[in-house]
């Protein structure tokens, strides 16, 4: 297939600009963690700096009071970080319930990492009887969960689609699973994040999120079959 796409002037690969529910849940953990860490780092840094400056030695200073410790204080600053960290863990675990639960009506796509490209297999046949596959460009409908089976035929790769679902490794000999859904039409860029050789840095991909009708039209054109979308596994839920 040939889509002559012009190279966009700016590609936003920030995982903090989510385009769907999985990425949203990642952000639901990131931002509380961010603010907690900003407050903690600032408070502790200021305490260190204050102590470091306030208690400078003056000329002829006597030996200061020899404090060896304070069990209550130390217990306090064991328990408080523990509670903060456990809260952050609970927040993580709660969001993982969604991130790790693939909806049953997902469209199934097999993704193969190979040096140095991503191949997407949609599980439908073209008019010539071959499987419909695309390389580096990945076409999905918006508003529809997509479940990926991720494999590799050579070395380890990592399918990193930061705006969409974070990432999952492609490891030879095993099939990894991840799902996502995109809520806004548009193009999203991903890239391999596991060193895979000289071409590692060019192993990127573009996810084209289309409206369901555009996607059906694209699929029909690719397969020569106007009802191809019904043949997609998981199509029943649309």
């Amino acid at each position: 297939m040939t889509v002559v796409a012009s190279i966009p002037a700016f590609v936003d690969m920030s995982p903090l600009h989510p385009a769907g529910p999985v990425a949203n849940h990642i952000n639901d953990v990131f931002w509380p963690l961010f603010w907690v860490s900003v407050v903690v780092t600032t408070a502790v840094s200021l305490t260190i700096l204050y102590s470091a400056v306030r208690f400078r030695r003056k000329a002829d200073d006597e030996e200061p009071v020899q404090t060896h410790g304070n069990n209550k204080l130390e217990l306090g600053w064991t328990v408080v970080p523990f509670l903060i960290l456990i809260s952050l863990f609970i927040l993580t675990a709660a969001n993982m319930r969604v991130i790790a639960s693939t909806p049953s009506n997902s469209m199934q796509v097999k993704v193969t990492g190979e040096r140095f490209a991503w191949v997407f297999d949609y599980g439908v046949k073209k008019s010539n009887g071959k499987e419909l596959t695309t390389v580096k460009d990945f076409y999905v409908p918006v508003g529809k969960p997509v479940a990926l089976q991720v494999v590799s035929i050579d070395v380890n790769h990592s399918l990193f689609m930061p705006n969409i679902d974070g990432q999952i490794n492609a490891i030879p000999g095993q099939t990894n699973h991840i799902w996502f859904q995109i809520d806004r039409p548009g193009d999203y860029t991903g890239q391999c994040t596991e060193l895979c050789g000289d071409g590692h840095w060019v192993m990127d991909l573009t996810v084209h999120a289309m409206s369901p009708s555009d996607f059906d039209a694209w699929l029909a054109k690719q397969t020569g079959n106007s009802s191809a979308s019904a043949a997609l596994s998981g199509a029943g839920g649309q």
Partner: protein
């Protein structure tokens, strides 16, 4: 009686001990102090080499679509940067301090096994040379310091340099393990009278815990590397999936070593800072027992957090969740340490010689490295930040902001003991400030690059990603670090030629190394003092003064 003729060999012994000058005395020495100094020279050499590798990386990444290095060169250079800084710099430089300082601190004559100690040292330059010799044979290892299979299998990394990388790492692993056993034997058996476990200096505690980690964890790295070598050279198929092998197995074995190894790389720096801060604040360490216990807890927990490096490998959710929980909890003992160091400053009478500047710099920078690690311990957030520059930033705040600042604190602190001379304070302060600013310029932008989705280990990037400016700043910071290191080296060589001006106890120290001369005699102590507290040398100073002063 003929048996009583024994004095002759003893006398010969004494003569040999006096021969402690000249090149041969260094090449053949089994004295822990000379070995310690050779550790420091060797590792600083590799620090400079690894730093040059880092500068090459930073020049390549300074702007998008740069062609300064080819992709193949880039992969070799960043692999050698990481491998050098971890296995030829941070781990052995801390072992070098351990070598020099531990026997002195516990009032021992030498390490328990002096010859093994010499062997541990000589394996380091050998391992480094083997690893770097790859450049002569068509390229070094190029699969990153983690050396994941299948990329390191022969089909994907055919160059002999990858085998040399494995062999070099093996030699360094043997060095580490021998050193670890030696430290354990020394600390367990050779403490001065009265030096109980809870009068042990915290630096010795840190070396004890580190040595235990080394001995328990390193065999797993050795095993994993041996399996890769057998796959490459002997047709084995431990990791070859088409022949019944398992590629993920390598990562499990590698990280079972390499997460504890992170603590091997930072605990002795904790130890150094725990010695420096009380001396320069003129107060005892706040919560001595908590500081000792927290290191032990970190060591134990350190073995059950390693899967957080593998959150994206498709392991079952319950496994990932367990390791996410442990990874969060290991932040607790680390937090306790930071707050106890801060409490040691509080109410103190702090003098800011260079060792103390680096110690306070360590506190502030390691705090950042500790906090930004929590992000990647959180399973959900790790999916977004794994494999990005966030991780690069995190490891550098821990290992540079933490370990390297700790190392320099130790260098300025113990240089008078080792050489009988002070390092120049003005140059030392200049070194500190340029390094502190440089490291933040180099590594803080990497946090933002991680949040912008820049993957690590990429040889270049397109100009439409918006990563160019931050990378330029980072490169600028890296060159500031290089300048600060150059200032240090000038300071070092100039100070070494200046007259001996350091007294035995220049900082009003607490621990036994300050009870002997600077530098110490070959036998360390004429009389080993009896230890009655965690601060024996302070006790001696007070005993020597009139009451009330």
């Amino acid at each position: 009686m003929a048996v009583m003729e024994a004095p002759l060999p003893q006398a010969r012994h004494a003569v040999r001990w006096d021969k402690n000058r000249g090149l041969m005395s260094w090449l053949t020495t089994v004295d822990h102090k000379k070995i310690g100094i050779m550790y420091l020279y060797t590792t600083f050499f590799f620090f400079v080499v690894g730093g040059i590798m880092a500068l090459l990386v930073r020049v390549q990444l300074a702007e998008p679509k740069n062609h300064f290095l080819t992709e193949a060169q880039y992969n070799q250079v960043f692999t050698m940067h990481g491998t050098t800084m971890i296995f030829l710099w941070v781990i052995p430089v801390l072992a070098g301090f351990g070598n020099y300082v531990v026997p002195l601190m516990i009032g021992a004559r030498d390490m328990a096994f002096p010859r093994i100690n010499a062997l541990s040292f000589w394996l380091i330059p050998l391992g480094g040379l083997v690893m770097y010799s790859g450049f002569l044979f068509g390229g070094t290892g190029s699969a990153g310091w983690t050396g994941y299979v299948p990329l390191t299998e022969k089909a994907y990394s055919p160059q002999v340099g990858q085998d040399l990388w494995i062999l070099g790492l093996h030699l360094l692993g043997i060095s580490s393990m021998l050193g670890g056993i030696n430290f354990l034997a020394t600390i367990h058996n050779m403490r001065a009278k009265g030096m109980t476990w809870f009068r042990l200096p915290l630096f010795v505690w840190s070396v004890e815990v580190t040595a235990a980690l080394v001995v328990l964890a390193s065999p797993f790295l050795a095993g994993a590397l041996l399996m890769v070598l057998l796959d490459r050279q002997a047709g084995a198929a431990f990791f070859a999936v088409n022949h019944g092998g398992n590629a993920l197995l390598y990562q499990l074995m590698f990280w079972f070593y390499s997460h504890p190894a992170v603590y091997i790389m930072i605990l002795p720096a904790f130890g150094i800072v725990s010695e420096v801060i009380p001396v320069f604040a003129r107060k005892p360490i706040f919560g001595y027992r908590a500081m000792a216990y927290s290191m032990a807890v970190i060591a134990v927990l350190g073995f059950i957090v390693f899967v957080h490096h593998m959150f994206t490998t498709g392991l079952p959710l319950p496994v990932q969740t367990f390791f996410s929980a442990t990874s969060m909890i290991i932040g607790v003992p680390t937090g306790v340490k930071i707050l106890n160091w801060t409490a040691t400053l509080w109410g103190g009478s702090i003098r800011y010689d260079t060792p103390m500047l680096f110690a306070v710099g360590f506190l502030l920078m390691f705090l950042i490295g500790g906090v930004d690690g929590v992000y990647v311990g959180s399973l959900a957030v790790d999916y977004a930040l794994h494999g990005t520059y966030w991780v690069v930033s995190h490891i550098h705040y821990v290992l540079f902001g933490g370990s390297v600042m700790g190392v320099f604190s130790g260098v300025y602190y113990w240089f008078p003991k080792m050489s009988g001379r002070f390092l120049n304070e003005k140059l030392g302060k200049l070194h500190f400030w340029i390094m502190l600013i440089g490291l933040n310029l180099a590594f803080m932008p990497m946090h933002i690059l991680g949040m912008l989705g820049m993957p690590r280990r990429i040889a270049s990037y397109n100009d439409n990603r918006g990563w160019g400016d931050l990378n330029s700043i980072s490169t600028f910071g890296a060159f500031m670090i290089a300048i600060s290191v150059a200032i240090f080296l000038i300071n070092f060589f100039v100070s070494l030629r200046s007259p001996k001006n350091a007294p035995d106890d220049p900082w009003e120290g607490n621990t036994l190394e300050w009870a002997t001369t600077s530098p110490p005699p070959q036998h360390n102590f004429d009389v080993v003092p009896e230890v009655r507290s965690t601060r024996p040398v302070r006790d001696m100073r007070r005993a020597a003064r009139p009451v009330g002063v």
